[in-house]
Symmetry: D2
Subunit: 262 residues, 4 copies
């Protein structure tokens, strides 16, 4: 899309401006080249990887460098189950990678990968106090989202469905409620399986979408990355355009009167 209206609608998080509203993870691709091609096709300007997966010295460092040439690199604390563990991981990342941005994950269960909101709130408070720019992965709980924003989170990132499930947005009503009330950008994180769901997230009022598995495990990750790019643009444009109301009854698009030929 080269529509100038898209370009004039940047996303701003913590003072940084993004033209793309699609954030991508880096795990699970068939190989590194496919990952890089998918990042390019997606147009993303924000890419995340688990700190624990990055060897912070040696050859693996090149992942961060490779990404750094294309996009803002956002380390995440995937795998952490306590605030203490997550804070430590974030500090390791800042020291090694020189960024104070962190996608904060604190999960309460290794099987469900569902956030532990008590630990998450605690870690958010500590990391903000320590000067981090914190983007917490949370659930679709409007009270938790507000607390995170009140504590200084730069954005809130509620899940659409369990990580990797591809179930889409299980509770659109609550995501919309969160978007309507949030003082910070809402990024839909987790659950998306296909492009229409990314578009729906934007139509509900999300500022951006973060996804990983839906692209990396698609049959053709590069093409799915392009699909997600278009889906996010479609949803954002539709949100800005203002959709028609839903009606329970039909309404003719063509006038019924003054017909020729009768």
């Amino acid at each position: 899309m080269t529509d100038p209206k898209t370009l004039s609608d940047p996303l701003v998080i913590a003072g940084r401006s993004f033209r793309s509203r699609l954030f991508l993870g880096t795990a699970g691709y068939p190989n590194r080249q496919v990952m890089l091609d998918a990042l390019t096709a997606s147009g993303t300007e924000m890419v995340t990887a688990a700190i624990r997966r990055i060897s912070l010295a040696g050859e693996e460092e090149s992942l961060v460098e490779l990404i750094g040439e294309r996009a803002h690199f956002l380390p995440n604390t995937a795998g952490c189950q306590t605030a203490r563990d997550a804070v430590l991981t974030a500090e390791l990342a800042r020291e090694a990678l020189g960024t104070s941005w962190i996608k904060l994950e604190v999960i309460g269960d290794r099987e469900l990968l569902y956030p532990d909101v008590e630990e998450l709130v605690r870690a958010t408070g500590e990391l903000v106090a320590a000067g981090f720019t914190v983007l917490p992965y949370c659930n679709d709980d409007p009270i938790v989202c507000r607390k995170l924003a009140d504590l200084g989170a730069a954005a809130v990132m509620p899940l659409g469905a369990p990580i990797g499930s591809g179930l889409g947005i299980c509770n659109p009503h609550m995501i919309e409620t969160i978007c309507n009330r949030s003082p910070v950008p809402v990024v839909l994180d987790a659950g998306i399986g296909t492009a229409s769901e990314a578009a729906l997230a934007m139509e509900l009022g999300c500022a951006a979408v973060l996804l990983n598995t839906a692209v990396s495990k698609a049959n053709d990750p590069v093409r799915m990355a392009a699909a997600m790019r278009a889906g996010v643009e479609a949803g954002r444009l539709a949100r800005l355009a203002g959709r028609i109301p839903r009606r329970r009854h039909a309404e003719p698009s063509s006038p019924q009167l003054g017909l020729v030929g009768t």
Copy 2:
């Protein structure tokens, strides 16, 4: 989108090739200029208008000419309630406009605007026999769709929801069933309200989407036209890319083992 993979996937109906899979109607725009700008923003190459709405002589003829410069013009029989009336209307269109393509609408009720499938099947047979390229607007009935294809329809156009309702695709399962079995292209016609729904139609296997009210009555029709363009591209790319399966449980995108820092 400049992805070459999109460009290499044209839609072919009755031997004619289309790069855009979005068809648009012309009714209900605030004014003619907005309509023309929306058509341009949509990238459409197929535009429909009701014969009965076109004054077939005089100044109004310019609508057909204006559209003809940008897209293939597809007259439709909106407002017809019998096969006889629809056939007559199609013949008037062919004579006046010099096209044998017709979007065939035969409705069974002025309030619901729902197709009368018996009359529709009859009119399709007659018009095919008379040399028309027939695209019938039908319901999400897989038996009717197959009959229409067997009779020689160039495509079938099942509804997603009542015309103008903006309810989206009320029965995705049946639309997918129709797509899986149809020997001719399936064009989702009617019901779409926003871009994610257009994307969903393509993901279910539709070859194209036809819509009108969702664009013409949006707060900003031109921007919604761009949204629909992106939505259709997103859905088509996602369909080709092959989405991940839905899972009832979470699956980590980041590996759980070999964690650094523990």
Copy 3:
């Protein structure tokens, strides 16, 4: 339920009154005793079986007799694919069984088991003219439903989902539309998988529910028959009671003012 309000709300079809709004099929049970126990647990007063499955002479006749002691027996034309075949089958049934009631099935495809509405309309007209009480199994097409009623069908029986699929009601909006407009009772036929879906059918305005596989193939058919009985009663009572409107926002059930202890 012994609520007198239930008892005062009988269903009337073609002049015959039914206290139960649950109709059951007889196919696919583990054995005949389970079937009879399920019929009893369901409280049904209308039971259907395929003519083609009934040996019209000899020992199998006892099925009809067994059912006849408990409920009105409704033969059906399952397996017929043309109006001619269905009419012939109905006439065989009338001659052999002495009933002019017929559940009319004319399917367009052996795999989908979806009705062929053209043949169905034709057969309905012929059978009504021949003095039958016709209950046609149709799709969720409001125009077809109205035509069937206009031809003299005693009820219309749209599907909720494909036969045996257990997908529930795929398009509740259209079932509700049909109920709102139908001059004859609407019986939801096919697709129901569990009790909440039977309740939903009644809440949408259906006069009764017909099902078979959901009971006969449940792990415990007798208990599922009792579940369906309660589900249909629940949905009917809820329909009569008049549900609260859906709200997008919360509303306290407990007053917020005049609190004790503050």
Copy 4:
């Protein structure tokens, strides 16, 4: 329903046995007589009211007495926004009413009426330590539900949708996940609008359903109470009966071979 299978399936919470799995609130009825008639029609054995709404001395005390003749009385802390406030309210209730059972509500927002899970977890721990039987109203967060159970809650009561919204169960997948993993009974609390939704809650694995507005604000509260009773029974029976799997394709209930008459 007099099915003996129903009677043999009591619900046990904290050692107390209930034959009815429907819990009802007492707010918002047109008048007290309608409330009492609805309680009777519902068959409920557990009735809740806000402590703050009960005048703990004087004439209003009769509400508790009236209910006490029919059902177990469960005071609730509706309106409380902090753990401290809720604990104090529960202690007031125990002292005045002589019951240590408490439905614990701690909301995070007066408009949304959504639980504040941090305060809820804290209050649950304190009240369990003080000897209360605690039934916390929570959100559909499986980690929070597990924490509440681990702290000693007698049941967990996740919401289906916002209080009073009548939206039903917005995220059935997550309610089912919670039911599958919970060591204590799961009671669906809030959001139910009609009987089919109460049935669905039970089919997903809930042990009981608590509702108020759906009955008290229905056009006919007494009849809706009867509907909810039947809905809960239907859903419980269906859960126990074991439903058929969902299939994407049709499956004939009547055999296709060996047809008579062909």
